[in-house]
C-alpha cells in the first residue's frame, strides 16, 4: 500500500480540494448560472466532478481504507472474508510491545528540529551570499544544487562510500574507526548530515529565486538611510520575502514528515534509524504484509501530519491576511 505517499499527497491535495470545493459554492446560487449554455454547464460540471472523483478515489479513498484496515488483522491475502476486525489491538500493540515505535517518533521530531535549525538557516545564508554576485556564484549555485539532482539511490550509495566503517573515506581521512552507519547513537546524525546535504541546496535555490525578485530600490533606500547589511536584511529584505519564507517553512515541515528514502536506502530504517514512514513500509510492503498493523502505524502518522499541518497552515494564513 502506498500509505506514506498517499499521506503526503493527501496533505498537498487537501489544499487542492479546498480550492476546488470553493468553486461550485460561489457559482450555482447565482441567477446568472441559468444563463450559462448547456455546453458551459457541462464544462463546469466536468471541472468540478473530475477533480472531485480523482481526489476522492486517489487520496481520500486510500486514506479512509488505511484507517479502516488499521482495525483489522488482514495479511493482504484473500478477499473480504479474510479481513477480520480486531478492534484497537494494532494500536495497543504499537504502543505497548513494538520497540521501534518510540525511537521512530523521536527521530521524526529530531529530523524536524534539525532541518529547521541547520540546513534551512544555512541554505538561506548561502542564498544571501550568492545574491551578492560573488565571483563564480554560478559555480557555487550549481555545486550546491547538485545533490538535489542526484537520485536517492545514488545519494545513499555516495554516502555509503563516505561513511563505511572499514573502507569509507571519512574514517580514512580522520584515521578513526567510527561506525557511522552502524552505531545507533551516531547514525541518525550521520544521516541528518546527508539529508541536510540535499536540503540545503533546495532551500538555497528557493530563497535565491525570491531574493532576485526583491525590488533593488528597497536596498538602495535602506542604504541611503544608512542601514548596515545585517540590518537591511532583517529589517527590510526578510519581511518583504514573507511569501518565500512561508514556502520554505512548509517545504521543511513536509520534508521532515515524509523523511523516508535516504534511511530506507541505508538500512531499511532499523538499528537507530527508525522513522514512522519506514516502519509503515517494512510492515506493509514486501512479504511481511502486516497490512493491519502497518495501517495502524500509517494512521498514527496521518494523525501526526494532520495535526501539525492543521495547526501550522491556518496560523500562517491568518498572519498573511493581516
Amino acid at each position: 500500500m502506498k500509505a506514506t505517499a498517499a499521506d503526503t499527497a493527501a496533505q498537498s491535495a487537501a489544499k487542492a480540494t479546498a480550492a476546488a470545493a470553493e468553486v461550485p459554492t460561489h457559482v450555482p446560487r447565482d441567477k446568472r448560472v441559468r444563463r450559462l449554455g448547456r455546453g458551459d454547464r457541462l464544462v463546469v460540471a466536468g471541472m468540478v466532478l473530475v477533480p472531485t472523483v480523482l481526489v476522492l478515489g486517489l487520496v481520500w479513498g486510500p486514506a479512509v481504507a488505511t484507517v479502516l484496515l488499521s482495525f483489522t488483522n488482514w495479511d493482504g491475502i484473500g478477499g473480504w472474508s479474510s479481513i477480520h476486525f480486531v478492534g484497537v489491538k494494532n494500536y495497543h500493540d504499537v504502543i505497548t510491545i513494538y520497540p521501534p515505535f518510540k525511537p521512530a517518533i523521536e527521530h521524526n521530531l529530531l529530523w524536524l528540529a534539525f532541518l529547521f535549525l541547520l540546513p534551512t538557516v544555512f541554505g538561506i545564508f548561502l542564498a544571501v551570499l550568492l545574491d551578492k554576485e560573488v565571483r563564480g556564484s554560478r559555480f557555487y549555485q550549481t555545486a550546491l544544487y547538485l545533490p538535489i539532482v542526484l537520485s536517492l539511490a545514488l545519494t545513499g550509495f555516495i554516502w555509503q562510500l563516505i561513511y563505511s566503517r572499514d573502507q569509507g573515506l571519512l574514517n580514512a581521512v580522520l584515521h578513526t574507526h567510527v561506525d557511522w552507519y552502524g552505531n545507533p547513537h551516531v547514525n541518525i546524525w550521520a544521516v541528518l548530515v546527508a539529508a541536510s546535504w540535499k536540503h540545503t541546496g533546495y532551500i538555497m535555490l528557493l530563497y535565491l529565486a525570491g531574493l532576485k525578485s526583491v525590488d533593488p530600490s528597497l536596498r538602495e533606500a535602506a542604504a541611503v538611510d544608512g542601514a548596515s547589511e545585517v540590518r537591511t536584511f532583517f529589517g527590510v529584505i526578510f519581511p518583504v520575502m514573507r511569501p518565500i519564507n512561508v514556502i520554505v517553512l512548509v517545504v521543511t515541515v513536509i520534508e521532515s514528515l515524509r523523511a523516508f528514502d535516504l534511511v530506507w536506502v541505508i538500512n531499511n530504517g532499523t538499528n537507530g534509524l527508525e522513522l514512522i514512514s519506514t516502519l509503515v513500509a517494512s510492515n506493509v510492503i514486501g512479504e511481511a504484509s502486516r497490512i493491519g498493523f502497518g495501517s495502524a502505524l500509517a494512521t498514527l502518522m496521518l494523525v501526526v501530519s494532520t495535526v501539525s499541518i492543521g495547526i501550522y497552515l491556518p496560523t500562517l494564513m491568518r498572519e498573511d491576511k493581516r
Partner: protein
Amino acid sequence: MIRPDTEADYLARMVPPSFSGPILGRRTLFRAALGAGAALGLAACGGSSSAGNGSTGKLTLGSNASDPVPKKALQDVVAQFRAGNPGITVAVNTIDHNTFQNNINNYLQGRPDDVFTWFAGYRMQFFAAKGLVHDISDLWTGLQGYTPAFKAASTGADKKQYFVPESYYPWAVFYRKSVWKKFGYTEPKTLDEFTALCQQMQKDGLIPIAFADKDGWPAMGTFDILNLRINGYQFHVDLMAGTESWDSPQVAKVFDTWTSLLPYHQKDPLGRTWEEGAQSLQQKKTGMYLLGLFVAQQFATNEQDDIDFFNFPEVDPAIGADALDAPIDGYMMAKRPKNEAAAKKMLTFLGSAASGTVVGRSDSGTLAANTGSDTSSYGALKKKAAQIVGSAKSIAQFMDRDTRPDFASTVMIPSLQSYLKSPKDVAGILKSIEQQKKSIFT
C-alpha cells in the same frame, strides 16, 4: 533478505521497493487483464489450452533469477527441456529478485505464471496453507534422487508436496587455507576447541570471526546454528513455527553462548555489509566467517581454491553437529495454471537429475538438489559442500525462510540488532520478542 549475488544486484537492492514495487504491480495488473481477456476468449471458443496432453501449448515460467549467472543457468535448463518437448513453448518472465519476493502476495493472487521460482520450508508452506499454490504430490511419486530431508522441505503442513527443489547452498564456517596453514590451525570439533582457536587467532593478530549485520539477516545465521547445536533441530523448528517460547531458558542459553563468543567477533557489525565482512576474510584480516557458500563471490577466480570451510562445531554432545542451514531454491505451480499438463511436465523435468546437472554446471554459487545429478563439473569447494549437506541428518532453511516472513522481518531483524547493540539486555529483548510473537502468531 536476499543474498546479493553481484555488485549490480547490491546496487539494485538500494532502490527502495517503493520505487520498484509499483512496476511489478502494474505489470501484474496488465498480465491479470491479459489473462482475464484470454480466459474470456477461450471460454468463447469453448476450448482450453490445458486440455492438451502436455506435449503442446504455451507455458509461462516466472523467475526471480535476475542475476546473470542464475539467469543463464535457467536458460540452459529451459533449452534442454525444449529439446525434449518441442511442442511446448516456454516463455520465461524474469523479474528482479527482490521485487519478485516483495510482490509475492500480489503475484500469487493475480494471474501468476504456470510455474514459478520460490523457496522451500515455511515460506512455501505458508502459501500452500493459504491455498495459493497447487498440490503436486502426484509428481513426487515419480521424482527420483531426492533425500528425505529435501522431500520434507518440499512438504506442506498437510503432508502434501507443493515444491520441486532445484538447488541449495550450505551455511558453514569459511576460512582461507593459506592463512590457516601459515599459523598451523586445525578445524575445531567442539565449542571449547573453537574458543581456543579464536584466542590463538587473537594472539596471532587476526580478528577471529568476521561479522556483519547491516542488512539484518546475516546474524540470523549465527542464531540458527547456535540454536541447532544447543537445543537441536526439533526445538529450532518449533521455535520458528511459533510453538516454543522465545523467553524460555533454552533460547536464553543460545544468547549466553553467543555473548561468550562476541568478543571474538568483528567489532561494530551493524554498520558492515556481508560483502565487507567477506572482503576482510579475503584480505586475511579475519580468520573465519560463518556465512553461506555465496561468500566465495567476494574472492577472485584464482583464490577460489584457497577457500575452505568446516561445519560449525558441536556444543552439546547430546545434540551433536548433524544439523545445519542449507536454504533450498526451487519451483512451484500456480493454483490455476493455464496449461497444467505442460506445467507438470516442466516441473518433472526441473526435478530430474538432468536438470540438476545443468544447474550445477552453470551456476558456481549453488549445488544441484538432485543427488542423481552429475557433479563432475564441481570444484573442490562445491564437492565438499555437497558432502557436508549430504551427511547432515537435518536441514534447516535459514530463519527468514523457516518462520513467518512478517515475524522474521519486522520482529527478528530489529531484535537481533538490538541484541548486538546491547548484549547485556538479553532478558528484555527475549521478552519483547515473545510478546510480539504472540501477537503475530494468532
